[in-house]
Point group: C2
Chain length 355, copies 2
């Protein structure tokens, strides 16, 4: 075994460099190196010559200061916690992509936590994020219980909620205007003559589900139609829920002509059930789903959807978080609702005059 000199033929593990190593090799102090690398050379009257040497050697040795040590000293980690219920849900994946990119541009990294829509897990992950000294958090809480989220408002670091939120907490949030979205979906049904429309609900108690339900109800009322409670079914945003509830609904009755699905996953499950039961879409039953994805245009039939402005949501969340981190004591934005839009495709049939 040789003594040291990097032997690149084998997997020679190089010991991590420190600022001291650089300093020693140049015969300067660690402070100097730190200041040069922080771009504060001028400010601290480091000679151009010294600065150049430090930079060059660092580059040559591929040295970057230990961010952990830095974080400890500065009490700032340049890390943001991102907590979402399910990264494999395209809506959240898109959001994660957007947020990750936006924050990266401002020098922040993100720690990704997937709560799997589990409250206990969520609580645990929140503790974990704090223990990791994140500078801020972006969370899409499971959404049914607020107590542990409420504690976040007392934390010394900014937090922003997204999608799932609690409007009564003193924590800013960004979301689609779910109420509006539901009404847009319903209006589309009405225009095409539908009046009996089932609602496949998402997680009860969560803001998106409740707001969408409110839109559903109000749209019916405004058109002088009665809300049939037995047409409101389901309690989760997943595919399973869409499948099961549609199955049950179809066993019981067939007098409704439209289904409003609160997520694309629910819609997907519903489609499976409809197919199994030999119900054609949209000839027998029309369908509108929340959440737009490009591939939905290849569905059979191409799905009419309510599109959420995912990018705008992500951008806004990032903007709020950055601004809160810059000036923690400014008045907080209370909550922002971004408008949805209807994407008309072919899953809604005209069955009569507009209501």
């Amino acid at each position: 075994m040789q003594k040291s000199t990097a032997d690149s033929s084998h997997k020679t593990k190089t010991a991590p460099l420190t600022i001291k190593d650089i300093a020693q090799e140049l015969g300067v102090s660690a402070t100097t190196v730190s200041r040069v690398l922080a771009g504060k050379a001028k400010e601290h009257r480091i000679s151009d010559e010294t600065a150049k040497q430090v930079i060059e050697l660092s580059k040559r040795k591929n040295f970057t200061p230990n961010a952990i040590a830095r974080g400890l000293r500065l009490l700032k980690t340049h890390t943001i916690g991102l907590l979402i219920p399910d990264i494999s849900n395209p809506f959240f994946a898109g959001l994660a992509r957007n947020v990750t990119e936006g924050l990266h541009r401002h020098g922040y990294s993100i720690i990704l936590c997937d709560s799997q829509d589990d409250l206990a897990m969520e609580r645990q992950l929140l503790d974990l994020l704090w223990s990791r000294q994140v500078d801020g958090m972006i969370i899409a809480p499971v959404g049914q219980q607020a107590s542990h989220v409420a504690d976040l408002a007392r934390m010394p670091k900014p937090v922003v909620m997204v999608d799932r939120f609690f409007s009564d907490l003193k924590i800013p949030y960004v979301s689609s205007d779910n109420f509006l979205g539901a009404k847009q979906a319903m209006e589309c049904f009405f225009e095409n003559g539908h009046r009996k429309i089932a609602c496949l609900k998402g997680l009860s108690g969560s803001a998106p589900a409740e707001e969408r339900l409110r839109g559903y109800r109000q749209a019916l009322s405004q058109h002088g139609l009665e809300v049939d409670e037995s047409l409101i079914r389901g309690d989760a945003f997943g595919e399973q829920s869409g499948y099961v509830e549609t199955k049950l609904l179809l066993k019981r009755r067939r007098d409704f002509t439209g289904i409003f699905a609160m997520s694309n996953l629910i819609a997907s499950g519903a489609l499976t059930a409809l197919e199994e039961e030999g119900v054609r879409v949209p000839e027998d039953i029309s369908l509108i789903a929340f959440d737009e994805q490009p591939y939905l245009s290849h569905f059979n039939p191409p799905l009419t959807t309510i599109a959420q402005p995912v990018e705008r949501i992500g951008d806004t969340v990032v903007k709020i978080l950055l601004s809160q981190m810059k000036s923690p004591d400014q008045p907080q934005t209370e909550g922002i609702l971004l408008p949805t839009s209807l994407v008309r495709r072919k899953s809604v049939a005209r069955i009569g005059p507009a209501v």
Copy 2:
């Protein structure tokens, strides 16, 4: 402004607790608190009484030791870097979910980096991850260039490649058996009488694209068919590529009867193009895509696909990484290829006797 006592009505930001605060309040040393919280009370002869008090107070104050300070002292952050080309690609989203969960169960958090399939970004993110002192990395490199990835082999921390990999580097990898997958797709075409099959390629130089191409070629040869190079088109895994290449292909010729798309995104783009050109699937042209997703069964037509064992890939990656972290000097697994499977749906038409 009151002095201190947490005033929960307002957003009173509580100063972060430290181990010293706990120690002081109990009249013991920080050492003792640390040892109790690390579960080393017995080992260090801390009385049950003291231990109980420490635990209780910590719980009551919701205290968790500062992981940053811990990381600095222990030179171990319990953080893993996850670098992928695009989190909004369902394949990687699924992988991320799996990996995140698996690592979390072992006490590790993940820092998510999305390179957006950009080499420069990838290089930058790798530096960033090292500077954050991750204990290990899971990377799906862009895949065209290996030099910066090769450096990883010399790092003192374990790295595992996934999906996109370089087999000649001394870094373990886990991936689908892309070669096999392509052959499975081709066999399905052959069984149904197809002999002229176009290939919509992914990113040139990346292992998945090259291996799938190899499978495509070999399958043709084995059946005594000539490889028509002009039927091999495209250079990216995205939707755009699928769309554009299909358009171009259709302008030029219509003598092929099948399309092998190297990703579901490519397939999606191809479908759009086919539709625009009035080509019916599968009546006029059959289609098989790599990457399975449940919703593909709702496509028009339901897509026949090659399914990658995403969960097994994720589990395996995690297993390898954990084992490398436990015993860094053990012989490394060189590379693991997991079998794919054909999901038969309705996008392949029978057009003659099997070849």
